[in-house]
């Protein structure tokens, strides 16, 4: 009897001995688990591309961010009052609960976490030696530099939209929460806002750490435009330092990629330079002028109502346009190619003609690339920084300004005598930036970084919008309601 019971027990035990360990730990076949994404170089490169893909999403630099930056300015008139296409941004009626206020924040922070998760994984796998033989130290540094730069760009873009500009109180005002470690769990929802100065410090620290690690030249036009290299970091730093009102810093930084005199070609790394033909920038996505652009295709782009083409193309029923009396249009010379290249639509009746940018024209496929930084911006930034730090207008500064201006408006060159005071120069540079970067997400930030009121704008049937003074709460965006309701330490 005992024996039989023993046999029965043995019989049961025998069956469990073969219980399949691998069945109990299945590996999904259509997604990779975090344990296998660092197994080979292709997967690591795919993760790097994944970070770029996150910032390229329609709700960030795939189109919405640039659109919002322009619509907050004083230039355009929208065709549609559909709230889904940022109408509440254009008329400055956005509130904490407004859709774009929440969704742009969400996408930028999703990009930040994508970077943090990658950096965390890359660093721990490298330090444990797992990546030996898979990637070289140069590649490790290069990937790290790309990650740090993208994160810096995200925080810079967040803080110049959702907080008071640096110029107001030298950055003492509240900025955004700074998350610099990978977030993977339900912990840590509460994080207080750092000050604007603290955010800039993090941004510059990331950029300065990235610069020596970055690759100098990828060896292909495509990669030199769509991926970050040393000159990209320098260009971005110049933008950040200028926004921070660190004129001397902007001068010394831009000196690394802008020589003391014409021809203005970056002396090291990728030989970035102005494209001699302005239109070529938009037909050839990878000219040396495009330091950093985000690529799109017919099946991979920001999507309808978010892609940059949607907001500026004459074929879109929901884009923005200028009329003859729009200040920026009226100020441009008729022979300036930036004005003459615009598309004209005649709506008929008593409505004025509508002028649309032709920078983004692939409306059916939405495959236009999104410009992030062009060499032209560095020249103009350097020009402004030279005068602001030096206190007087110099020929070098005038030459830089002219390089950009005469490329589009050959007969419009300035001379030293054109500027009685530095203030005249600043106005001229500001206006040139307005002409040059229409539809590229610059205008409202150029006004805010200098603490200038956002001028009133006429919207024809959409209504006239009053000026927004720099002291107004509508000057910058509110912290979104989604964050306030879940982050207990974040104050509005």
């Amino acid at each position: 009897m005992r024996n039989i019971l023993k046999m029965a027990a043995a019989f049961l035990v025998l069956l469990t001995a073969g219980c399949s360990k691998e069945y109990l730990n299945p590996v999904p076949q259509t997604s990779l688990s975090d344990l296998s994404v660092f197994d080979n170089k292709d997967r690591i490169v795919a993760q790097v591309n994944g970070m770029y893909s996150a910032v390229k999403a329609g709700w960030y630099l795939g189109g919405r961010y640039q659109s919002v930056a322009d619509m907050r300015g004083d230039n355009f008139i929208p065709l549609s009052n559909n709230a889904y296409v940022n109408f509440n941004t254009w008329n400055h009626l956005e509130i904490s609960a407004t859709m774009e206020v929440n969704d742009i924040w969400n996408q930028i922070y999703a990009s930040v976490n994508t970077v943090n998760v990658f950096l965390d994984g890359l660093k721990s796998n490298w330090e444990s030696g797992k990546l030996a033989g898979i990637i070289s130290e140069e590649e490790y540094n290069q990937f790290t530099s790309e990650a740090l730069t993208l994160r810096a760009m995200c925080y810079f873009d967040l803080t110049r939209l959702y907080a008071k500009p640096y110029i107001q109180g030298n950055g003492e005002n509240l900025g955004v929460p700074l998350r610099v470690k990978a977030e993977k769990s339900a912990e840590g929802n509460d994080l207080a806002r750092s000050t604007v100065a603290e955010v800039y410090a993090q941004v510059l620290s990331d950029l300065n750490a990235a610069e020596p690690l970055a690759i100098a030249n990828y060896g292909s036009d495509d990669l030199n435009t769509t991926r970050i290299h040393k000159n990209t970091i320098i260009a971005l730093k110049t933008r950040v330092l200028l926004t921070k009102c660190d004129w001397a810093g902007a001068v010394s930084e831009s000196a690394k990629i802008v020589p003391a005199s014409a021809p203005f070609v970056a002396p090291s790394g990728v030989p970035n330079a102005l494209s001699t033909n302005w239109s070529a920038i938009w037909t050839n996505n990878t000219t040396k002028e495009s330091i950093f652009s985000l690529p799109n295709t017919d099946i991979n782009n920001g999507g309808g109502q978010s892609a940059i083409t949607w907001y500026f193309s004459s074929e879109s029923g929901e884009s923005v346009y200028l009329v003859a009396t729009s200040p920026v249009y009226a100020a441009m010379d008729p022979t300036d190619i930036r004005r003459s290249s615009m598309d004209v639509l005649v709506p008929g009746g008593s409505d004025p003609d509508q002028y649309f940018l032709t920078k983004y024209t692939h409306f059916t496929t939405l495959s236009d690339w999104c410009p992030v930084i062009r060499y032209a911006e560095i020249l103009l930034s350097r020009a402004e920084a030279l005068v602001r730090s030096g206190g007087s207008v110099t020929q070098e500064a005038v030459d830089l300004l002219n390089a950009v201006r005469t490329r589009a408006f050959p007969t419009g060159a300035f001379t030293l005598a054109s500027f009685a005071t530095p203030a005249d120069f600043y106005s001229a540079v500001l206006q040139e930036r307005n002409f040059e970067f229409l539809g590229e997400g610059m205008r409202s930030f150029d006004l805010m970084r200098l603490g200038l009121d956002i001028p009133a704008k006429e919207g024809l049937t959409m209504g006239n919008i009053g000026a927004i003074p720099a002291s107004s709460a509508a000057y910058y965006w509110p912290i979104p309601s989604g964050e306030l309701s879940l982050n207990k330490l974040c104050v509005p």
Binding site: L15, G18, S31, V45, G50, R179, T226, I299, L486, N487
Partner: protein, 1039 residues
């Protein structure tokens, strides 16, 4: 495979059998009723496994040990009788019928028990109770048959899975549907089709079912561990029995029609009412809708319901061959079913075969196999629920009667993707011509299912049995669809066709050892120990093309210009479990039982894969206590008290890979990307259900009236809910699922079976089931105040909040129409009455009723509140079965009380755009001050005053209480037939299913669920198709 050989060799080594002195005993067994011999009776020597079965003449031959004392005679339907041998060699027995089924055996988890010994809460339904009901699947016929079990058919579309709830709603994000086990193997359930529904449970031919045992409390379900929280339904298929081979044929033919078609306005009423609305809004000079005439000059008055519904013809046939010899029993059945639904082009057909064999190889080794194969095919147009414009149920009542199906020149009345407007002042409509979409568009699902259970049992020695069982559930489902380029959803893309294939593969292997021992008839012990493994792989892939090259091509495999990116998914999971049960009773007076199961599930994270579930119950048979039987024994023939408690789990909310951190792949323009896409929760685990149950069962008048009363309380914790995360963390989806919610279900169940009259020639049995249910949510995720329930992705119809039942109906309060102004009166959150003036613009539309001026616009989010619940508070069934000589008659009622329905369909039936309305609108719309009505003054285009999907109003919330004549049948049995026919008996019957519903609900049927099996959106009727009424004429022939 090597393992199986090892096991069998072990078994052979360890088997023992007794050899000792024996004596031959023989005898005859007869029935006490008519003195006739009883074949197939089990005769065993008490205290041994030695036995025999009586022959066709009722005789048996037995080699009993010399010391044997008693013989036990047992046979289904008769009371087990013990006869002392007393040294005789001829021992006869007379058996009496078990009229009141007290000796029934019920199937419980991993075994069977005598009905009277069951300490847990189990409801049994015999297969014959549902055998002839004209439905596609057994679950559709269970309504009202078991206390605590609520079955709702969402609509009358064929093969649509019903919503099954055992003792309430047991989950929010997971599934509340019970585990279905067929012949010991947990099987796939749910809808394996798409537009053409394919209820996985219809693969089981209802004729093949011997019994359905429903396990409800912790004690009965604990052995199913982490899948038990929603209850378990055990299906046992038929096995052969009793001597000579029996052949049966069951067949029926019948037709089906909708139970309800809305009475809508005819052309004259439509023209009058809509033109009044146009004048009210656009002024006297508004372009009017005119009466058009057809090619023969007759006025066009199209009854669109006629083009959508019809009488569908149905037929069903099953032939079975079964029998048993002393060592082998077999059951073979072949079935064919071909049904047309009440909606044109909705069809279902099924071919199935089943073979169940059990064989005693030796006296200690028994093997068997249950094998069933089913091929099912469903075709359906888009029928209803929600907002699909091609949905036939809505086309039946929304299309204007002034429009024809064909133009006067004979061509189809179509314009682009919609039906042509014929120049009427409402332009072309976005809704298609039903004649085209029903005939040309095609959605089909074909399923192939193989359900198999193989087993071997070894009786090591008396009372000790080892059993190994291996089961397979393979289901392949292929869906195909075609959207015609002529009209409807396929017109814009010049036609669209696609196909998807889903392959579900499951194997289940369990090994159990059970031991029963009776010490001196007083101490009865039962022990069970087991191990089970189950693996499921579920893969699917699909393709779709559009822009057809020639309208001749109507399938995916044809010639098309454009291709969409294909899709698919792959899932797999695995369970490994160890379980045990111990039951003990003292003299069948005091019972104790405990079960425990340790489940490991692959979807949980490493190191946390296992969990333990258990249940315990106790029962006291009061009627065996002398002091009780003396006091009340002459009234109460049986009285038991039971109680149980335990903790079981619901793993359905945990996916196959939910605990993992996953990366998805995409594109950065032209290069591949990998990015973090799922923040798995490594702490995610099953939801737990602590179940309390207390009950009393008693019988009156010698088991004549059998009653069970139960009280239950299910406390559910650890509900998996999405916990929102701060957006600045950048977590994909900004939420992480976690076990944070809690909810409870409580109620009482009453079950009464009364054998009112039980004479040989006349019997009348009544069965009443009544269940009550109170459901309440007690906690949601931190930072979450509410969970919204959507209908059709467009309308927020429900809201779940703490302190209320799940899925409350979320509407703005309205107080009818103001007789003075004809405007709908809304109530804002401050309680002030606000009227809606459609003809004003912008903010001036909302005016305070007391004329104090413009009011802020009423919105659902600021002024809405929960004003009803779709979960019935009381539900059940009442069955009456009568037999008189050769006639039998039965009537089954089902009922549900104490619930509300959000009648979203009514909003559409009162919509003042070009939509047709119910006739009530033409008859009662507000015309002048003083009119008391519920239809506001009509303004052309007004789709808000009478209900809008973004502003649901309480005028659309109605009581759903109903009593339904679910089934009524009348049959006649002919027994004395000439033996040349080979027929032993024929029963001919007529039956009506869903004959009539008594209710005040104004929609198509109070038994409705536009949102199907959803936990958070019950009680919604939005454009659903009605139920179907089916009349059948059938025969049951026993050869």
């Amino acid at each position: 495979m090597k393992k199986i050989l090892l096991i069998f060799s072990l078994l052979l080594l360890t088997c023992t059998y007794v050899m000792s002195q024996t004596v031959q005993i023989t005898g005859t067994v007869t029935s006490s009723e008519d003195g006739l011999a009883l074949p197939g009776v089990n005769v065993t020597v008490k205290g041994t496994t030695i036995g025999a079965i009586t022959t066709a003449e009722g005789k048996y031959f037995l080699s009993a040990p010399a010391k044997a004392q008693t013989l036990v005679f047992s046979f289904i339907g008769f009371r087990t009788t013990e006869v002392p041998i007393g040294g005789r060699t001829k021992v006869d027995a007379v058996l009496t019928q078990d009229t009141y089924n007290v000796e029934e055996v019920v199937v419980v988890a991993y075994g069977t028990q005598q009905k009277r010994d069951v300490t847990g809460s189990v409801a049994s339904v015999k297969g014959d109770a549902i055998r002839t009901v004209p439905v596609q699947s057994f679950d559709q016929a269970l309504q009202g048959k078991a206390a605590g079990v609520s079955i709702t058919l969402p609509n009358g579309v064929l093969n649509n899975p019903p919503v099954i709830r055992i003792r309430g709603y047991n989950s929010i994000s997971g599934s509340s549907s019970p585990l279905i086990v067929v012949d010991g193997v947990p099987i796939a359930s749910g809808n394996f089709g798409g537009t053409a529904a394919a209820n996985a449970l219809s693969d089981i031919n209802p004729s093949d079912i011997a019994s359905m045992d429903i396990l409800k409390d912790a004690s009965a379900t604990a052995l199913y561990g982490s899948r038990a929280a929603n209850g378990v339904i055990l299906i046992t298929t038929k096995h052969g029995s009793g001597g000579k081979t029996k052949v049966t044929y069951d067949g029926y033919v019948g037709f089906t029609e909708p139970t309800h078609i809305f009475k809508v306005m005819d052309a004259a009423q439509y023209i009058e009412e809509k033109n009044a609305a146009r004048v009210n809004y656009l002024g006297e000079s508004a372009a009017k809708i005119v009466q058009l005439t057809d090619a023969n000059g007759k006025p066009i008055d199209t009854n669109w319901a006629d083009h959508i519904y019809h009488k569908g013809f149905q037929q069903n046939h099953t032939v079975t061959i079964s029998g048993a010899t002393p060592s082998t029993s077999y059951y073979l059945s072949v079935g064919y079913s071909d049904q047309q639904g009440m909606v044109k082009t909705n069809t279902f057909s099924r071919k199935n075969a089943r073979l169940n064999i059990d064989h005693n190889v030796t006296s200690f080794l028994k093997i068997g196999a249950n094998i069933g194969y089913t091929n099912g095919y469903s075709r359906s147009p888009q029928v209803g629920a929600d907002y699909a414009t091609a949905a036939s149920a809505r086309l039946a009542f929304v299309l204007p009667p002034v429009l024809p199906v064909y133009n006067n020149d004979g061509t189809l009345n179509i314009a682009g993707a919609g039906i042509g407007g014929q120049g009427e002042p409402f332009g072309n409509l976005g809704y298609p011509n039903p004649d085209v979409v029903l005939k040309e568009n095609k959605f089909t699902t074909e399923t192939d299912r193989l359900l198999t259970t193989l087993y071997a049992t070894v009786t090591l020695f008396k009372g000790m049995e080892l059993r190994t069982q291996y089961g397979i559930d393979n289901l392949t489902s292929e869906q195909m669809w075609y959207l015609s380029p002529i009209n409807g959803d396929g017109q814009g893309s010049n036609g669209d066709a696609g196909a998807s294939n889903r392959k579900f593969r499951r194997w289940n292997w369990s090994n159990t050892a059970s031991y029963t021992k009776s010490i001196a008839e007083t101490y009865n012990i039962g022990l069970l120990a087991g191990v089970e493994e189950q693996r499921t792989v579920d893969n699917s892939w699909s393709g779709e093309k559009y822009n057809v090259n020639d309208p001749f091509f109507k399938t995916y495999q044809g010639s098309w210009t454009n291709v969409y990116m294909g899709g698919g998914g792959m899932g797999e999971n695995y369970y490994i479990s160890y379980f045990g049960r111990a039951s003990f009773n003292y003299s069948r007076k005091y019972f104790l039982e405990g079960s425990v199961r340790r489940d490991g599930f692959s979807g949980l994270s490493t190191g946390k894969k296992f969990g333990t579930f258990w249940g315990a119950s106790a029962m006291w048979d009061l009627s065996k206590e002398e002091f009780i039987s003396n006091a009340i024994g002459n009234i109460f023939s049986d009285m038991r008290l039971k109680a149980s408690y335990g903790r079981v789990g619901n793993i359905s909310a945990v996916g196959d890979f939910s605990s993992l951190f996953l990366y998805g792949s995409g594109l950065y323009a032209t290069v591949p990307t990998l990015a973090f896409t799922q923040a798995g929760n490594a702490d995610l685990k099953w939801e737990t259900s602590d179940k309390y149950d207390a009950g009393i069962s008693f019988s009156l008048f010698k088991d004549r009236i059998q009653t069970q009363l139960n009280y239950y309380y299910n406390n559910i914790n650890g509900l998996v809910l999405s916990v929102p995360q701060s957006p600045s963390k950048g977590i994909p989806g900004s939420s992480i699922p976690a076990n944070v919610g809690s909810m409870y279900n409580t109620g009482a169940e009453i079950s009464i079976t009364s054998f009112n009259i039980a004479k040989p020639n006349f019997s009348w049995t009544t069965t009443l089931n009544l269940s009550t249910l109170k459901n309440k949510v007690t906690a949601l995720a931190p930072g979450v105040d509410e969970i919204l329930g959507y209908t059709g992705g467009l309308e927020i119809s429900n809201k779940t909040v703490v302190g209320q039942p799940v899925g409350g109906l979320y509407v703005v309060e309205t107080r009818g129409v103001d007789p003075q102004t004809g405007r709908r009166i809304f109530v804002n959150k401050a309680g002030k009455e606000v009227e809606f003036y459609y003809e004003n613009s912008g903010s001036a539309r909302w005016q305070y009723k007391d004329e104090s001026g413009v009011a802020p616009a009423i919105t659902q989010s600021s002024d809405g509140k929960i004003m009803g619940s779709g979960i019935p508070k009381v539900f059940g069934g009442l069955d009456n079965n009568l037999t008189y000589k050769n006639l039998d008659f039965s009537i089954n009622l089902t009922y549900a009380f104490g619930f509300d329905i959000y009648n979203g369909t009514k909003a559409g039936l009162r919509d003042q755009r070009w939509w047709n309305n119910s006739a009530e609108v033409a008859e009662t719309y507000w015309k002048q001050p003083g009119d008391v009505t519920d239809i506001a003054k009509p303004f052309w285009g007004d789709n808000i005053s009478n209900g809008h999907n973004s502003l649901p109003q309480s005028s659309l919330v109605e009581k759903g209480d109903y009593v339904k004549i679910r089934n009524i049948s009348l049959g006649y049995v002919i027994r004395k037939l000439p033996s040349i026919t080979g027929i032993e008996s024929i029963r001919v019957y007529v039956q009506a299913f869903n004959l009539h519903t008594f209710t005040k609900y104004s929609g198509s049927d109070p038994e409705i669920s536009s949102n199907g099996d959803s936990n958070v959106s019950p009680g919604v009727d939005r454009n659903s198709a009605p139920q179907a009424r089916t009349y059948t004429l059938g025969v049951n022939i026993n050869f």
